[in-house]
Each structure stands twice: as structure tokens, then as C-alpha cells.
Symmetry: C2
Subunit: 431 residues, 2 copies
């Protein structure tokens, strides 16, 4: 193999959780990477506004700096790793690095899911690579397999458990029978959830990730804001118990499917059959289930977060780019959004639905509710009435596959019935 | 992206199960592949000794031929797909194709697990690619992820369910409570097992696959003949029932681990905790569980056999090579066996063991058996005595982690005891 470069110089921006993992892996396996790539992969510069972080990691003074521009503007750096997170100033860092001819590796899902197009185009124009395996599923290889190993497939569907925090919360609720608030507190205690858990529990993090996966799977760009998103705050132990009785687990699923009317892309708590491989993915683990027209069902499982798992994906991308630079190859796989497929209106989505409501327990109630469902073309697969606990009874319906639009209309109608106290929850059902 | 070739010509040898899947995918997705690779991927020639197969697939006369040499010697062919299987004449076909400067894609696990070194060296000398993603796990991406996405890791362990036939048989035995012979007959009836099921049920197929995975995971060549291999013929419904009672499933696992004394590589029926992700991989599905020092645990799951899943992996490799040829890049990742790590003697393996024996039910028997275990440094974690069924009682032991050597000695000693009728079975325990 001809070698055109004997050293690949890496600049790192952001020395937080993932950044410190990257520093650890690069130093621990430097010799190994030399063997694998044929060149030395060297951490040349590391920037963090909080300069004490570099010190804590034992980085020498000539590597550490407080200003990201010292990384971006360094003409000797081949690969910039952006681990700042969020849109600003990360976007500026990434675009400037690309413009100056540097390859960029990032774990930034928010950035890629909102400004992916602009970033891809900048990389294309500059003739450099932009790699972002770590942006989805932590250390789980998923972006490369979708672009490469599964390239022979028309991907039909991607279903992911892509947020470890919410999966931990739902697993705890299921195992311990505790409330959402209690499970969230436990997640925070263990460091799995932020003090402000919004991005996780309201599904925003998962929405960014499924936007990225959908873009790659269907070769058509999807952005976060196009993803129908619903979080897990309303799920109760009683929903989980009903689900289990009916043979389902409740998971926060990120779903992207190819349909005749466009791409169906959404994040919401979902009831999934207990026998489905995703149903037994528990705790902070992530899994991405992919259906292709040739390969059938495949699933990728692993730790979706954490310092070293995410750093594994980042450094995997760095090695990929380094291997290419070592032999002087031009960039290979850039943007794969060749098509422009519309996103289907969420109201057109067809699924089964679980609906739990509190009613006034008197004769004729079921008939009124059933009529409202029927009037809106929602047919019912099963219904369970449960004995009253604190006044009023509970009715649990599972519908046949119906349009979201019809279900919403039916629920509005039912909410207006005098015999209905409350629609306590409503969960979509897959599979 | 500069394009140096506008058409990539593919020659196919072998139009059996996987070959027909390849023909189907190449014809169905030709336009899609042009978009993805920037070139036309064209099936230029297809050889099979049975010329009726090409006809049955509707291949035009100018593509079909009965002689593999017409593919190998065609100067216009860029990529040869070898799907003949077995060592001969596949080895000759592959080496001749490589020597004549053609890239080769193969699904041939037996060939790669025995002659991988020679084939890799020939590809290196000729400056062409040899790709074999389909040789392990059917359509599941595993070889690429191990070489690329997980390159930042020192891989510690690979545990695979890599043979769908035996996994189907064990799943049927567990679900239906039937005998091995009955489950095998069902597998044959469904086309999951050959008339001569030796390669599957005796673990030889799995041994070839774990030899390939171990070579890649540890960057050191392992061949089939170095893999300790034991099949599933001796497993009974009663072993499966005992296992379940103790919280385990029995699976044919292919295991490769890095140890201080060398590579531990083996295939045998294994008891694995029911909570382990591999325990719920049932039917003809395959899964490969990988432990890396950074990524932690990851698992790859999917259909390990079948026409289209395996063809998905083959065509994925073809697209990979075509993308490279399209821009005129030199080959990138060749052989990754950079080291020469010894294979550890199987007798040095340390695991727990499950041992089921039939004994004469009288006082003092347990003491004699326990003493024989003890004399050979085998300590016991648990013991169950079961009521006699057809004369004599049954004792089931689970040992602590012990050396295989010591366990074997203990079993020899126990077999010689007059109070022991038979050591009915012995299954290793993982995790």
C-alpha cells in the first residue's frame, strides 16, 4: 500500500464526556492505530473553554488550548473532531473547519439533524470528509452499515430505541412499578438524565437521531422539525401493566418508514409485542432495527451513550478518514440524499392505538363511546373495563389499524362526552 | 467526485440459492446502484455447470455460460462473485481471478477459514480487493463493522449464534419439548437443514465462521482446524428443561476470546443466562455479540442464511468495490492479521460446566462423586438430584469456573465409579 502521509494530525474541540473518552482511546491505542492505518494518528491540539479539563486529562501544555480557533486555523491539522454539541457555536466551528480543507468528525446529532445539508455541501465543495457515526446510537455501528453493508437494499423501515435515558426510565417503571417522576429522579441520581431532562423525556434527542437515520435510509433529507414528536411524561405504571397484560412492552420508539405517500417519521411512546427483539432492550441500551427488501430484519444493539462507547464511534470515524488520507485517496461516500421524497403528514399515519379513559360507571357509557369511535371510522379490536379505584371506572380500548386523523377526531368527540371524565392516555401500537 | 470508470462489470460463478438472489438484486436495483456508486453495475456473465439455472432465472444467452473460466478469463470483468461454495474448485477460481487482476467477492466461509491467508496475499500482490461479508451471518453486517466502525477498540470477545440450522433445532426443542431427531427432521422438512446435516449439527459451519471472526477481531489468523468444535446431537429436552429451571437457555455458541495465554476459540452447545441478549435469538436468526474495550457490548442480529439476506451482503460488497473502482482509488483495507497470537489449548479453557449423570440411587453415591470432583480441583456450585424415571436416579451438577483439563479428568474418574451408570451430558456455561 503506498503511503502518502506518515502522520495524521487530529484536533479536538470539546473535552467533556465524549472528548475525554477520545483522548483516552487515542493515547491507549496509538500503536495499534499505526498498525491498522499505516500512519501515526496524533492528537495535535485540544481546545476547551474550560482549560482545567485539559489539565485534568493530563494533556501537555503544547496540546491544550482554550480557543477552538487555534484548532480550526492550524494548517497542520488534518481532522477536526467537534464535540461541543448543540447548534452554536458548533455549526460555525464545523463549517470553518470544512472550508479550510479539514476533515471533520462529529457526534453532534442536533447539528446534523438541522443543518446536515449545508454541512454536507460544504464538505463536498472542499473535497473533505464529514463523518458522524457517533451522532446516533453511541458506539453502535449504524450509519456506516446503512450506507455501506446494506447498500444493496431498499430500506423499508427503521425503528430505533435511540435514547438511553428514556429507555432507562421506562425499564425502571416496568421493573419496579414506579411513577415516571420517581424513575426520572433515579436516572438523574445515576447521571443518566440531565437536571433539565426536556431533550430526552420529550423525545427531542430521539427526533434528531431518527431524522439522521431516515435521511440515510431513504436517501432523502429529513430534519428534526419534520419529525412528529411526543415524549414519555404521560406514561403511567398502569399503562405499562395494561400493555404487559395484552402482550406488549412500552418503549419510546423512533420510527421512520417508506410509504406510498412519503416518509413517515415520528417519535412517541409505543406498545410493541413482547416477542419483538426491541421489547427486550432494557436500561440505557439502544437498538436500531432495520428492515430491508433483501436483508429482511436486522438489529444493531449496544450502549447508546457514555464516554467510551461514543468515543469508540468517534475514533472509528477518525481511523476511517486516516486510512483514506494515508494512501491519498479522494473522499469516497459523501451525502447520500439523492432524492427528495416528501414527508407524510402525521395525521395520515396508520397504526393501532391504545386508549385509556376514566368514565362515569353507568349503563350505556360503552355504547356512547363505541358510537363516537365508529362515527369516526375507528374500529375497536378489544376493550377492557376495570373496576373503579378512586371513583369512576377505567376503560381501555385497543383499536384496529386506523388513520391518526380519525383517531384524533374520535378522541376529541369522546372527550366532549359527559360520561367521560378524562382520556388518561393514548399510546400508539406497532407490529 | 471524479469518475474514472462509467461501468463496473460483474461476473458471477454459481447460480444456486445465493447466486439467484444476487441476480435478482442486481436486476431490481440497477438504477439505484447507479445513483449510489456513480457507475453502472452490470452483470456481464454468469456461470453455472447446470446451465438450466441461468435459463430459469431468465438470464440472456450472452450472459449465461456453463464454464467458470469464461468468467475468470474475461478481460472486461472487474469483479468476480464466487458462490460455488466448498474448497474445490472454488479456491482455484478465486486465486485465478485475483491473479488476473480481478476483485473478488465471495460468501465462501470454508474457503476463507482454511485458505484465507493465501487468498489475502494473492489479493495484496495483485492490488485488488477480496471481500467476504456474506461468509458470516448472512445479511448481517459484521465483518465491515469489525474492521471499520469498531476499529478504535481492542476486541475482547466475540460470541456468535452463527448457524441458523442448529439455532432452529434448539429453539424447536425448547419450544415444543421434542427430541433432537424430531427437530432435525422438521428443519429438513422446512429446507433449513441438508439431507446430510453434518456440517451444521456437528458445528463445522460455525467453526469456519468463528475462525473468520476471530481472525478479524484479534488481527491474528485463526483457521477452522484450530477451533475446538462440538455439535448439538447430544442435547436432550431434559437438558434444556434443567437449563431453563436454572435460568439458562442452551445455544450453539461460537466463542472467540482474547486471553493472557492466547486466543480461546471454540464452538459448542452452551448454557447462557436467559437475560443475555443472545438467549432470546430464536429460530433461524443469527446474532453476533462483540465486546470491545471502548464500545462495551454490541450485538448484530438478523437472518443468517437464505437467498436474499446472503445476497444482500454479497451485493453490498460489490457496491463497496464498485464505489472504489468508480473513482480509481487503490484498494484500502486488505488483510488485517497484523499479529501472530497463539491459539490457546482448549484444555486450558476456564468455564462453568453443567454435568448430568445417571446413577444408582443408594446412600454414599453423592459423596463418591463429589470426592472425585474435589480430587480434580473441580468445585461445585449446585447439585440437583431428580427422582428416578426408568430405574436409577439423575444427578445434575453445575461447577464453579474450572479448567477444562480438570473437568475432563474428573469426568473420566466419575465414569469409572461403579455407582455411576452414565454421564448423560456435559454442557459448558457462559456468563
Amino acid at each position: 500500500m503506498r503511503t502518502v502521509k506518515s502522520e495524521i494530525r487530529v484536533g479536538l474541540i470539546g473535552l467533556g464526556t465524549v472528548g475525554s473518552g477520545v483522548v483516552e482511546i487515542l493515547s491507549k491505542h496509538q500503536e495499534d492505530f499505526r498498525t491498522k492505518t499505516g500512519v501515526d494518528v496524533v492528537l495535535a491540539k485540544a481546545a476547551d473553554r474550560d482549560e482545567s479539563r485539559a489539565q485534568a486529562l493530563g494533556l501537555p501544555a503544547e496540546i491544550a488550548c482554550g480557543d477552538a480557533s487555534l484548532v480550526i486555523d492550524d494548517p497542520d491539522i488534518d481532522i477536526v473532531i467537534e464535540l461541543v454539541g448543540g447548534i452554536n457555536p458548533a455549526k460555525d466551528f464545523v463549517l470553518r473547519a470544512l472550508k479550510s480543507g479539514k476533515n471533520v468528525v462529529t457526534a453532534n446529532k442536533a447539528l446534523m439533524a438541522t443543518h446536515g445539508k449545508e454541512i454536507m455541501e460544504e464538505a463536498e465543495a472542499a473535497g473533505v470528509d464529514i463523518a458522524f457515526e457517533a451522532s446516533v446510537g453511541g458506539g453502535i455501528p449504524i450509519i456506516h452499515p446503512l450506507k455501506e453493508s446494506l447498500a444493496a437494499n431498499e430500506i423499508e423501515k427503521v425503528i430505533g430505541i435511540v435514547n438511553g435515558t428514556t429507555n432507562f426510565i421506562l425499564s425502571e417503571m416496568a421493573e419496579q412499578g414506579i411513577l415516571f417522576e420517581e424513575a426520572l429522579a433515579e436516572a438523574q441520581r445515576r447521571g443518566y438524565a440531565e437536571a433539565d431532562p426536556t431533550a430526552d423525556v420529550d423525545g427531542l434527542d430521539a427526533a434528531a437521531k431518527i431524522a439522521i437515520l431516515a435521511s440515510i435510509a431513504f436517501n432523502s433529507r429529513t430534519t428534526s422539525d419534520r419529525v412528529f414528536t411526543e415524549g414519555i411524561r404521560k406514561i403511567t405504571p398502569s399503562d405499562i401493566a395494561y400493555a404487559r397484560d395484552m402482550g406488549y412492552a412500552i418503549k419510546l420508539l423512533a420510527i421512520a418508514a417508506r410509504t406510498a405517500e412519503g416518509i413517515d417519521v415520528r417519535v412517541h411512546p409505543t406498545m410493541i409485542p413482547l416477542a419483538h427483539p426491541l421489547a427486550s432492550v432494557n436500561g440505557v441500551y439502544n437498538a436500531i432495527y432495520v428492515v430491508g427488501d433483501s436483508v429482511g430484519d436486522v438489529m444493531f444493539y449496544g450502549q447508546g451513550a457514555g464516554s467510551l462507547p461514543a468515543a469508540s464511534a468517534v475514533v472509528g470515524d477518525v481511523i476511517d478518514v486516516a486510512r483514506r488520507l494515508a494512501v491519498g485517496n479522494p473522499r469516497l461516500i459523501g451525502c447520500t440524499c439523492f432524492f427528495d421524497i416528501p414527508i407524510r403528514d402525521h395525521l395520515e399515519t396508520r397504526t393501532k392505538h391504545y386508549v385509556r379513559m376514566r368514565i362515569i360507571d353507568k349503563p350505556g357509557v360503552l355504547a356512547q363511546i363505541a358510537k363516537t369511535f365508529g362515527d369516526n371510522e375507528v374500529s375497536i379490536e378489544s376493550v377492557i373495563q376495570k373496576e373503579p379505584s378512586e371513583g369512576g371506572a377505567e376503560l381501555v380500548f385497543v383499536t384496529h389499524v386506523v388513520k391518526e386523523k380519525n383517531l384524533q377526531k374520535a378522541l376529541s368527540g369522546i372527550e366532549r362526552l359527559e360520561v367521560v371524565n378524562e382520556i388518561a392516555n393514548h399510546v400508539r401500537v406497532e407490529g
